[in-house]
Symmetry: C2
Subunit: 426 residues, 2 copies
């Protein structure tokens, strides 16, 4: 029998998982610093829940690409394809939750779709959302978290911000109905340019005058100040005010990477206000590394009735972030072990030394019955362990051990306490 993973899913081997854990730990730290609480929802949801009103965004695609299963009781179930639906279900089920509810969640999500480069059937998402407040301060916290996280990861990045109400206002003012189609075109302005957008809009049936009015408002150097003069539509002005408030907050919060970008629309239909997208600067990775926005109608719609439950959130792309980190550092480390202990005819004595290193908080591996010094050194080297501690009777007689730096090959005779001091220094 040939051993293989299921199609479209893959293992994360130690050298990659070590980096993934770095990313997840950094993001967790940032979420908690900002007062977001962890929540875990199950991988399996009722099929009905996954396709409840407004839950799925692009519903038909999601439906087709959802892994379906049934339990022994013939109940129809599905594997989650994102977290927002489960979050909405959780909020709907727990009416005693104190609002605003700030939560983060990460883990695997699933889609049974075509497999392309970088598109897997199981992949990780990492979301933070604030439910139950329309305060722009919640939007500002989302932007500030992106800034804090990517600075912690030493990225060069920018955060593009827009507001759907501004875009709606512009489209209203240009006399464009069917705004969903137009938004998809505008979102491509960066990629296909003015001519490309004009062509698409024409194909979609908009006339020259509408397109000209639209371009008047979105082309050139569009700033909050310029829009304040040109935009007269009421919804547009409301969006402009929200955007201005948001920028005043993030400025106070010390965010330096945020810019207003009138062409940012984001695909999903459910956004109602702020939209956010973060990109690396001067990087081979040109896809966004995080994004999000405000979706005030979705959760209430999901819960039924007339409840309005405003919400804003961001989602980090674990795959592109890992790709960026892999470009910064080589994947030579296949273990968290910092030191490998290699006793020569001194196994019993070695165990106390090993535990002393471990008790000092040093990640320590030990030779497990491998024969010979060179075999063991080769093993430690192939795993990328930076130090080896070697000793036999001679060293032990002096109450010392030999510390070998695996990068330089330099060996130093030290007491165990000195080894601990050296390895815990950094």
């Amino acid at each position: 029998m040939k051993m293989q993973t299921a199609k479209g899913v893959s293992d994360t081997p130690p050298e990659e998982k070590i980096i993934k854990n770095q990313v997840l730990n950094t993001l967790t730290k940032v979420f908690e610093i900002y007062g977001f609480a962890p929540l875990e929802t199950p991988v399996i949801e009722r099929f009905e829940t996954l396709f409840a009103k407004s839950g799925a965004g692009e519903e038909s695609d999601a439906l087709k690409e959802t892994f379906q299963l049934t339990d022994q009781g013939k109940r129809k179930l599905g594997l989650r394809f994102e977290f927002t639906t489960s979050l909405a279900r959780y909020v709907a089920m727990n009416s005693n939750i104190k609002m605003p509810f700030k939560r983060y969640e990460f883990g695997p999500v699933f889609r049974d779709g075509p497999i392309k480069l970088g598109r897997y059937r199981q992949f990780w998402q990492c979301d933070a959302d604030t439910i139950g407040t329309s305060s722009m301060l919640a939007d500002a916290e989302c932007v500030a978290m992106l800034s804090t996280a990517f600075n912690k990861l030493n990225f060069k990045f920018e955060i593009k911000i827009n507001n759907r109400k501004i875009l709606n206002g512009i489209l209203n003012q240009a006399g464009i109905k069917d705004q969903k189609e137009a938004l998809i075109s505008i979102d491509k302005l960066d990629k296909i340019g003015k001519e490309g957008v004009a062509k698409e809009l024409k194909e979609r049936g908009y006339n020259e005058s509408q397109i000209a009015k639209l371009f008047d408002l979105i082309l050139g150097k569009v700033t909050i100040t310029s829009l304040k003069k040109s935009l007269i539509d009421e919804e547009g002005i409301e969006g402009l005010n929200e955007l201005e408030e948001l920028f005043s907050y993030i400025k106070k919060m010390g965010v330096k990477e945020a810019i207003f970008d009138i062409s940012l629309a984001r695909g999903q239909a459910y956004y109602t206000g702020t939209v956010i997208e973060a990109y690396l600067i001067n990087s081979k990775i040109t896809s966004s590394i995080a994004g999000g926005g405000r979706y005030d109608d979705m959760i209430g719609g999901f819960m039924g009735g007339n409840r309005v439950v405003p919400a804003v959130g961001i989602s980090f792309g674990i795959a592109p972030i890992m790709d960026a980190l892999k470009m910064q550092q080589e994947l030579t480390t296949k273990t968290p072990a910092k030191v490998f202990v290699l006793p020569i005819n001194a196994l019993e004595e070695s165990l106390e030394i090993v535990q002393e290193l471990r008790n000092a908080g040093i990640n320590t591996d030990i030779s497990l019955g491998k024969k010979g010094v060179s075999n063991n050194l080769q093993y430690a080297s192939s795993l990328g362990i930076p130090y080896v501690v070697i000793f036999g009777e001679k060293e032990l007689a002096q109450k010392k051990v030999m510390l070998r730096n695996m990068e330089t090959g330099k060996e130093t005779l030290l007491t165990v306490k000195e080894v601990i001091k050296r390895l815990t220094k950094k």
Copy 2:
């Protein structure tokens, strides 16, 4: 539409997830201190893989209780029900892995079985295994990791250890074939006593003389020393030597909680040597909190051919460990936030203060547009946030803020630097 989770799965709300993360972080730390590397295998496996030779233990039950699904290409898939099968597949697929391969993995596993108290359809497992060495030092590391982990969690516990070869030897010596059935009875000695075991063995067709010989060897105070005199079967003696070696290692490693227990067998058929099980002492939780053992035939069998790939591992029960922690501490904390910032007509100034606290590494929440001091204090209190920082123009004029201890109600006028000093102290 009524919102609910799928049957048999549940959400982990913030107050529980905070504790779960504490457990997982502690275990991760211990695994890495012992030089184990993280691996992530997918939730979805090929159905064929899950039921490859020796992969599943109690195969028929596992088969019935495995969630099955198909992808768009009509491939038959399943949700993993444990990690060992995926680990075996990973080792089989990656022939360049350096042995011994020490890895840990945790995450959700699935079973579509009947739901009882504490038995869910999605639950977490947390495993550490060493593949590719028969050194008893690897078994000793497993025991030592249990000891380190449970000491870090402040548990009172004991680790029972036995060796299947000893049990096999005893059964051989008593003339008992069909050892699998007999082992299941012996494993119940603690629960059903001598008479219960005797009754079961009779029902299974063993005669009085066999049962008497068996009881001679396993009843009373059975120690390594006593067995050295009474056990003459070759396999039994081999097991005894392994056990002795294991105990000599863990003693050197400072493990104080391990005891030899001749009645420990563990259910799974695949164990070939050391078996381990950890229990809380003087606790309402009487089920084991971790267990494991050596399974030298399973991975090789899985890979086909005649390869022998020795292996030993342990698995932590996240649910009973969390239950034990919940008995130690109340679940009053619903957020990681340590301080809640409440500005009174001073929103703009507050943002700088909030970021100063966050930059100092303090988990900080801020009032998101909630009106009134008492409303906000109530919110902070209901989430279990221990401190609130309150200030208005009066305090800001003095360049100070009011720090309120939510437990005592005591308020102190401090500079932000003094607040940081106080909150980062512990």
